[in-house]
């Protein structure tokens, strides 16, 4: 893709970004040459054998058996192993192949590091790496949710009702029941009408499934919201304004807490009543309600910031622990890196 199609920014800015990525590449190359290197993923293949038994009802069940059992089926899976486990296995049996580098997962790790840096690069401004990453995540997300919808909903809830024998033989051998259910033709028809929105003719036909979704969702949410968000919340607010401890003595703090909660809920609700003018007693109550709302927003803001910072820390952990192998909380690699660095410095001095 040419620069003109990828980015409309000037050549100077393009050179700046290329320079930045080159610097990062050089730093990564230097890091890769120190100590044990960096950014590798190890796996070990685990094989499990299964043998079938048939019960009196003719139902087949599979259970784990020892490897080599007659008629057993063996399934092999690659499972993650740490660098420390790899090193231990190597010291026990040099050249062993049980724990080995997984190239597909290693490439994945490096790609993930590139994507992480590309998204962070947006902090300095829009650039081709960020746009590329953005384009990828749009396509992947759309595909991901389509796949999930297909395997989690369309197959077990629709296809399993329309063609149970086929689904059973194809991908759901443990499917209960097994008769064609004509009622499933209704959601199929509504679904096809919904998909017809992609065509110019589908504007009118697409209204019916949309109306069904909206009506059902409205009914579903009305029941759940009224039950859990009105009745339960009101019930939880009915607190004793004068509270007593277990020994029968007056509990000052518990009483104050309950009074504050009841007054807070009522005053905040008063603020939300817009059909009455906010003056006089209602106005004063609404003002107190605003104070409660401000405290709620402040705490929500604090928690949001903390959540984002926790995510940021997790991304740095990924970069510095999983990819660069610079920080090593489990003591599997870091000491060797530090020892190599120290020896380099000693040699230099």
């Amino acid at each position: 893709m040419s620069g003109a199609t990828m980015d409309a920014s000037g050549p100077a800015q393009g050179r700046w970004w290329i320079g930045l990525f080159l610097v990062i590449a050089v730093l990564v190359a230097i890091r890769a040459g120190i100590g044990e290197g960096m950014g590798r993923v190890y796996v070990q293949t685990e094989s499990t054998s299964y043998a079938s038994t048939t019960n009196e009802q003719g139902r087949v069940t599979w259970s784990v058996v020892a490897d080599g059992t007659d008629g057993a089926v063996t399934i092999e899976r690659d499972l993650f192993r740490t660098a420390g486990q790899f090193r231990a296995a190597e010291s026990a049996a040099p050249g062993q192949q049980a724990i080995r580098v997984s190239w597909d997962r290693t490439i994945g790790l490096w790609l993930a590091a590139f994507f992480t840096l590309a998204v962070f690069s947006f902090l300095a401004g829009d650039n081709p790496a960020y746009k590329l990453t953005e384009s990828i995540v749009i396509g992947v997300s759309a595909g991901y949710w389509m796949v999930v919808a297909f395997w989690e909903t369309l197959v077990p809830k629709l296809l399993a009702n329309l063609a149970p024998d086929m689904v059973k033989a194809w991908c759901m051998p443990n499917l209960e029941g097994g008769a064609f259910n004509p009622i499933a033709l209704i959601p199929l028809g509504l679904g096809l009408m919904l998909l017809s929105q992609l065509t110019p003719l589908g504007r009118h036909v697409g209204r019916w499934p949309l109306a069904f979704v909206i009506g059902t969702f409205a009914g579903l949410k009305m029941v759940s919201h009224v039950e859990s968000d009105i009745i339960e919340q009101v019930r939880a607010t009915m607190l004793p304004m004068v509270a007593f401890g277990d020994d029968g003595s007056f509990a000052v703090w518990a009483s104050l807490r309950n009074v504050l909660i009841v007054v807070g809920v009522l005053c905040t609700l008063a603020y939300f009543v817009f059909s009455v003018e906010h003056k006089g007693a209602v106005g004063r109550a609404a003002r107190v309600g605003v104070w409660f709302l401000m405290i709620t927003f402040g705490s929500a803001f604090g928690f949001t910031v903390m959540g984002r910072i926790a995510l940021l820390a997790a991304r740095f952990e990924f970069l510095f622990i999983d990819w660069l192998w610079l920080i090593d909380p489990k003591g599997e690699r870091g000491m060797k890196v530090v020892a190599t660095l120290v020896s380099c410095i000693v040699d230099m001095t």
Partner: protein, 231 residues
């Protein structure tokens, strides 16, 4: 005619869900309707994917600015779809080892799992992590203790941020036991337990009332905006 049928479908769907908690015989209907709703929601994802495909193909064929990114999006979409629907690299489920397609598409080791772990998760979590910078920057520019309400918001945010970290313990750990309620970590708990509970409870009740009234308007056909046009 089309609109009248749509309004009737909306009413029937909503009423079925509404009466099911009160009529035992309607529970089965509600389960069926919920399944249909889930199927249509899944179909909506297919519709979304189709729409993405259509838009990106149009941009690609028009060769407008940024068409290269459309090609990348299309490629990512098609590859994800192919490995996910084709269960590439998925091994059979232990409960049915003789059925190759019985495994889940996101089982460890599958291509779909690889895409989720190494492409989708790092990008989406970094996108959210980057918001930390923007939230902090926006707060620095916008938060000013100009009046009582703004001061309350600002002070609460500080108390929560400090009280939930070691900084809070270090800053106010010297306070004597009789004033321990003023220590930042305890203050943060009190704010969450009392003031935040009261404010949030009122907001939740308000939202629920809004949901209920909107639901009634939709079911009765008073709100027809979802039908589009001059409804």
């Amino acid at each position: 005619m089309s609109r009248s049928v749509a309004l009737l479908i909306c009413l029937i769907g909503g009423l079925t869900m509404l009466v099911s908690p009160f009529l035992p015989m309607a529970t089965g209907w509600a389960n069926d309707v919920t399944d249909w709703f889930n199927i249509l929601a899944a179909m909506a994802f297919v519709l979304g994917g189709g729409s993405l495909l259509k838009v990106q193909l149009m941009r690609l064929s028009a060769r407008g600015p940024g068409w290269g990114y459309s090609a990348v999006t299309l490629l990512a979409f098609v590859v994800t779809l192919w490995v996910g629907l084709g269960k590439v690299g998925v091994v059979a489920d232990p409960s049915a080892p003789m059925v190759p397609w019985s495994g889940k598409p996101d089982d460890e080791g599958s291509a779909f799992w690889w895409i989720y772990l190494y492409v989708m998760t790092p990008i989406t979590s970094t996108l959210f992590a980057v918001l930390a910078f923007y939230v902090a920057s926006a707060a620095f520019r916008a938060f000013r203790a100009k009046n009582l309400e703004a001061t309350l918001l600002l002070a609460t945010a500080f108390v929560i941020l400090l009280g939930r970290t070691f900084a809070g313990v270090v800053l106010t750990g010297w306070l004597p036991d009789w004033a321990s309620g003023l220590r930042l970590e305890n203050l943060a708990v009190t704010i969450m337990d009392v003031f935040n509970t009261a404010g949030n409870r009122a907001i939740i009740i308000g939202i629920a009332l809004g949901v209920a009234s909107t639901g009634i308007r939709l079911m009765l056909g008073l709100d027809r905006s979802y039908l589009g046009g001059d409804a």
